[in-house]
C-alpha cells in the first residue's frame, strides 16, 4: 500500500511537471507582457524577444493585456482580421477598415488586435485547430517559416500580373521578391517600415548643434554623441573632467540590437550568413561592426549599458539625445511632446544600409468562396490606402504612394521612406529565422553589450549557434 501511495504521489508530481501547470507562483502569464511598446517595436521584438532594450521599451508607456476588438460594418459576409497593432496605429487601421465597409456594405469586419506575443500563440493555435482568422498580419521575413508548413495561401493571383487587383508593378521590386517562397507569392505588403535615427532637437540646441542637421557617418555620430553626453556636473564627454560614472544625459544608445547591428553589419559588408548555408557572424567585418557599438558604451562612454536602461522613457524624459529607432516611434514622440527630429541611419561603415521590414496581409489556405473574394477586396483596399497608413509613421510599400508623400504632411515617413527606398534591406529569409534571432545571435549580442562577453567571444558563440541551426534548417 505504501508503494502505491508513493507511486501515486510521484505520478502526480510528474503530471504537474509535464502539464507545466504548477502552482500559481509560476504559471505562465495570461498575456506574455514583454512586447508592449508601440506594436511596431514589438512585431520584431517578438523575434527579438531577448533584448533588455526591448524589455525597457516594453516597460514603457502602456501594457494592454487584453485584445482590442472593433466591429466595422453590418454586411452579411463576415470577415475576421487579426493583427498585433495595439498602439495608436491600430486606431488608424480600424479607421481604414471602417472606411472600407462603408464602401462595401455587403461586408462586415471584426478587427481583433492583440499583443504580438499573444498574437503568435493564438495564431498558431488557430492554424493547428483549423480555425484561423480570415485575414492576419505577419512580417515578410516570417514567410518561409509559415509557408514551409503549408498554412499560407499562395496569393500570386491577387496581383495584376496574374489577373488580380493589386498592381505588382507599383510595389518596390525587392519587396515583391521578399514575398516569394518556392515559386509562390505569399501575402500583400502594407508598408515598408524600418530603422532611422531619431533625435531631440532641444538637446541638440543646448549642446550648440544645428537641430536641423544630422550626423551622416560614424565619425560625426561619435562627435555628436560626445557633445550630447553630460555628467551630473554638466561636463560633456569631450571634457577632460567628464565623469563617465555619473552620466545624466546620454548621447545615444544601441537600442534594439537586431536592426542596429544588422544595419551596421551590412554597412561593413557583413551579415549573419553568406546565404549558402554558412554562418558568418564572426567575420572580421561583423566584429568591426559590433565593436563600433561596443566602444560607444565602454570606450567612449556616450551610450549606456543596455540592461536596465529604458531607451524610450529616457528619450521622452530628455535623458537621451539620439537613438536609432524604427519609423513607428512617431506616435510615441508626438504623444510625449518631444521636439523630435529624424534622419536616415548614418553610414557607420563603407556603404549605406538600413534594416527594413514589411507588414504583410495574409489569408489562410482554408479561405474560399465569397469570403475569399471579400478578403481580397479588403486587402486591395487597405494596401491602396498607404497614405492614410503613413500618418502613423509607417511608409507605404507602393512606389506611387511613397513618391506622393510630402515632407510637410509626412515629415518622418517621408525622410525614412526615402532612405528605405534608397538603401533599405530586408533580413535574409530562412525557415528557422526566428530561432536564428532568438537563440542564435540576440542573447549573444545582449551578453556583449552588457559586458558579459567580449565581442570576439560573443560573436564566436553566436556563429556556432547559427551554424547549428543552419545545419538543421537547410
Amino acid at each position: 500500500m505504501r508503494k502505491v501511495t508513493w507511486a501515486l504521489s510521484l505520478l502526480i508530481v510528474l503530471s504537474l511537471l509535464l502539464a507545466a501547470c504548477g502552482a500559481p507562483p509560476t504559471q505562465p502569464p495570461p498575456e506574455a507582457a514583454p512586447e508592449t511598446q508601440a506594436e511596431e517595436a514589438t512585431p520584431e521584438t517578438e523575434e527579438a524577444a531577448d533584448t533588455t532594450d526591448a524589455a525597457a521599451e516594453e516597460a514603457a508607456p502602456e501594457a494592454e493585456p487584453t485584445a482590442i476588438v472593433a466591429e466595422a460594418g453590418t454586411g452579411d459576409i463576415q470577415l475576421v482580421y487579426w493583427n498585433g497593432l495595439t498602439g495608436s496605429d491600430g486606431g488608424t487601421m480600424v479607421e481604414m477598415v471602417e472606411a472600407f465597409t462603408e464602401e462595401n456594405p455587403d461586408i462586415s469586419v471584426r478587427v481583433e488586435m492583440m499583443q504580438w506575443s499573444t498574437y503568435f500563440d493564438k495564431l498558431l493555435t488557430s492554424l493547428v485547430s483549423g480555425n484561423p482568422p480570415d485575414l492576419f498580419l505577419l512580417h515578410e521575413f516570417e514567410i518561409p517559416q509559415f509557408a514551409s508548413q503549408g498554412v499560407l495561401q499562395d496569393t500570386s493571383d491577387y496581383y495584376t500580373s496574374n489577373g488580380g487587383p493589386i498592381p505588382d508593378e507599383d510595389i518596390l521590386p525587392h519587396v515583391m521578391k521578399a514575398l516569394e517562397y518556392k515559386g509562390g507569392r505569399y501575402g500583400v505588403p502594407l508598408d515598408l517600415h524600418g530603422w532611422g535615427l531619431w533625435y531631440n532637437k532641444d538637446l541638440f540646441e543646448a549642446a550648440g548643434l544645428d537641430p536641423e542637421a544630422c550626423p551622416t557617418n560614424g565619425e560625426e555620430f561619435l562627435d555628436y554623441a560626445r557633445k550630447l553626453t553630460l555628467d551630473a556636473n554638466g561636463n560633456d564627454a569631450t571634457s577632460p573632467d567628464f565623469d563617465p560614472e555619473n552620466v545624466v544625459q546620454w548621447g545615444t544608445q544601441v537600442s534594439w540590437f537586431k536592426p542596429t547591428v544588422l544595419s551596421t553589419m551590412w554597412q561593413y559588408g557583413a551579415d549573419w550568413t553568406d546565404g549558402e548555408g554558412n554562418a558568418t557572424m564572426n567575420s572580421e567585418q561583423a566584429m568591426a561592426a559590433v565593436q563600433f557599438w561596443y566602444d560607444l558604451i565602454y570606450t567612449d562612454h556616450v551610450a549606456p549599458q543596455p540592461a536596465g536602461f529604458d531607451g524610450w522613457q529616457s528619450f521622452a524624459g530628455g535623458q537621451l539625445a539620439m537613438t536609432p529607432e524604427g519609423s513607428w516611434m512617431l506616435n510615441f514622440n508626438d504623444e510625449n511632446e518631444i521636439n523630435w527630429g529624424v534622419c536616415p541611419l548614418p553610414q557607420f561603415g563603407d556603404q549605406p544600409a538600413t534594416w527594413t521590414s514589411s507588414h504583410v496581409i495574409y489569408t489562410p489556405t482554408s479561405l474560399e468562396g465569397e469570403k475569399l473574394d471579400a478578403a481580397q477586396r479588403l486587402i486591395g483596399y487597405l494596401t491602396s490606402q498607404g497614405l492614410v497608413w503613413a500618418t502613423s509613421g509607417q511608409p507605404p510599400a507602393r512606389v506611387s504612394q511613397l513618391e506622393a508623400m510630402t515632407l510637410e504632411e509626412f515629415p518622418s515617413a517621408k525622410v525614412l521612406g526615402d532612405s528605405f527606398m534608397e538603401f533599405g534591406r530586408y533580413d535574409t529569409a530562412n525557415e528557422c529565422i526566428q530561432e536564428i534571432i532568438d537563440i542564435g545571435y540576440m542573447p549573444e549580442l545582449d551578453s556583449i553589450f552588457n559586458g558579459i562577453k567580449t565581442v570576439e567571444e560573443g560573436l564566436n558563440d553566436a556563429n556556432a549557434r547559427i551554424q547549428d541551426i543552419l545545419d538543421r534548417c537547410q
Partner: protein, 316 residues
C-alpha cells in the same frame, strides 16, 4: 453502558473491516466503494493528465513540427541532442538556482511570518491579510509592478537607496543579481500561500503541549524550537516539496521582468521549452525539454523524500 459508549467512541459505523487477506473477495468488496468514489476523478485525470503525458513522450520521439503533416520518427535523437545542448544546461542551472533559492527563502520566511501572525497580537488579521494579498495578483501584474520597482533608472527601490545616500543597484540588469532579484520578487508575491498552510498547521498543534511547556518554565524561543518546529515538520516538508516543484517551473517572472537577460543569466527551462515549441514550432524537441525537466524535478523530489521524508511523520 457509559463504558461501552466510551469504548465505541471513534469507531466508524458500518461493518467491521475484514482482516487483511490480500486478493480475497471480502477485501475487494470492502474497498470497492472507495475506488468507485475516486473513479470519476481517475477518468478525468487519465484523459487530461496521464494521456497528454504519454502523448508528450510519444511526441518527443519525433521531429514534430506543429503545423507539418508529417512527423518523422527520430527515436532518442532529441534526447541525445538535449544532453549536448548547452542552452538547456544553462537554462537548467538558472532554474535550479532560482528554485532552490526561492523555495528555501519562502519555506523559512513564510514559517516565521506564520508563527508571528499566529500569536495573539494586535491587528493579527490585518497582517495576515496584508501578507496574503500579493498572492491574488497575476504573474503579469506582479511582474510589471516589480520590474518598475526594481528598474535601475526609475525604480522606487533605487530612489530610496539614493535618498539614503547609497548607490543605486542594478537589480535586474546585473548578471549576478538578476536571479536573486527575481527570487525576492517571487517571495514577496508568493509567501502568503505557504504562510496560510503553516497557519493551518500551527492550529493543529495541541494547546496542552504549550501549556505544559510554559508550566515547566520554557520561554518563547524554547517553545518554538522544541515544540512548534518539530511538530510542524510534516507541513514544512510539504511546503518545501511543493515550492521546489513550482519554482523549478519558473516562467512568467523572467519572461516579463528580464526576458531571460542580461545575456542568458535568467533564461529558464520553461522559457526554453516555450520558445522551442511555440516560437520555433519544434514541438518534438519542446516535449523533450519537458520530459527532461520532469525527470530532473522527480530526481530532486525523490532526494527530498529520501533525506527528509522520514522526519515528516509526527505522532502526538
Amino acid at each position: 453502558m457509559d463504558n461501552e459508549m466510551i469504548m465505541n467512541a471513534g469507531r466508524r459505523d458500518g461493518p467491521t473491516p475484514p482482516r487483511k487477506q490480500v486478493g480475497s473477495w471480502r477485501t475487494w468488496r470492502w474497498t470497492l466503494g472507495n475506488y468507485l468514489f475516486i473513479l470519476p476523478f481517475m477518468i478525468l485525470f487519465s484523459i487530461f493528465v496521464i494521456g497528454p503525458i504519454l502523448y508528450a513522450f510519444y511526441m518527443s520521439l519525433h521531429e514534430w513540427k506543429v503545423l507539418a503533416r508529417q512527423h518523422p520518427f527520430v527515436g532518442l535523437e532529441n534526447y541525445r541532442q538535449l544532453l549536448k545542448d548547452d542552452i538547456w544546461w544553462i537554462a537548467l542551472r538558472n532554474s535550479l538556482y532560482f528554485a532552490f533559492l526561492t523555495s528555501a527563502v519562502n519555506t523559512v520566511f513564510a514559517l516565521f511570518v506564520a508563527i508571528g501572525v499566529s500569536r495573539p497580537i494586535l491587528g493579527r488579521d490585518f497582517y495576515r491579510f496584508i501578507f496574503y494579498a500579493p498572492v491574488v495578483l497575476s504573474v503579469s501584474a506582479m511582474g510589471i509592478i516589480m520590474s518598475w520597482m526594481m528598474n535601475t533608472q526609475f525604480g522606487v527601490i533605487n530612489y530610496f537607496l539614493i535618498w539614503f545616500g547609497l548607490p543605486p543597484v542594478k537589480w535586474l540588469a546585473d548578471t549576478y543579481l538578476v536571479v536573486p532579484s527575481l527570487s525576492i520578487a517571487t517571495v514577496w508575491w508568493g509567501f502568503g500561500f505557504p504562510m496560510l498552510l503553516y497557519i493551518a498547521g500551527l492550529q493543529g498543534i495541541p494547546e496542552h503541549l504549550y501549556e505544559a511547556a510554559r508550566i515547566d518554565g520554557a520561554n518563547s524561543w524554547r517553545i518554538t524550537w522544541h515544540i512548534t518546529l518539530p511538530l510542524m515538520r510534516p507541513t514544512i516538508f510539504f511546503v518545501a516539496i511543493t515550492q521546489l516543484i513550482a519554482h523549478f517551473q519558473v516562467f512568467g517572472q523572467p519572461l516579463i521582468m528580464t526576458n531571460g537577460g542580461p545575456g542568458r543569466a535568467s533564461f529558464t527551462t520553461i522559457m526554453y521549452l516555450y520558445q522551442t515549441a511555440w516560437r520555433f514550432f519544434r514541438m518534438g524537441y519542446g516535449t523533450t525539454i519537458a520530459v527532461g525537466l520532469a525527470f530532473v524535478i522527480l530526481f530532486f523530489t525523490l532526494l527530498q523524500f529520501r533525506l527528509f521524508g522520514r522526519q515528516s511523520v509526527v505522532e502526538y
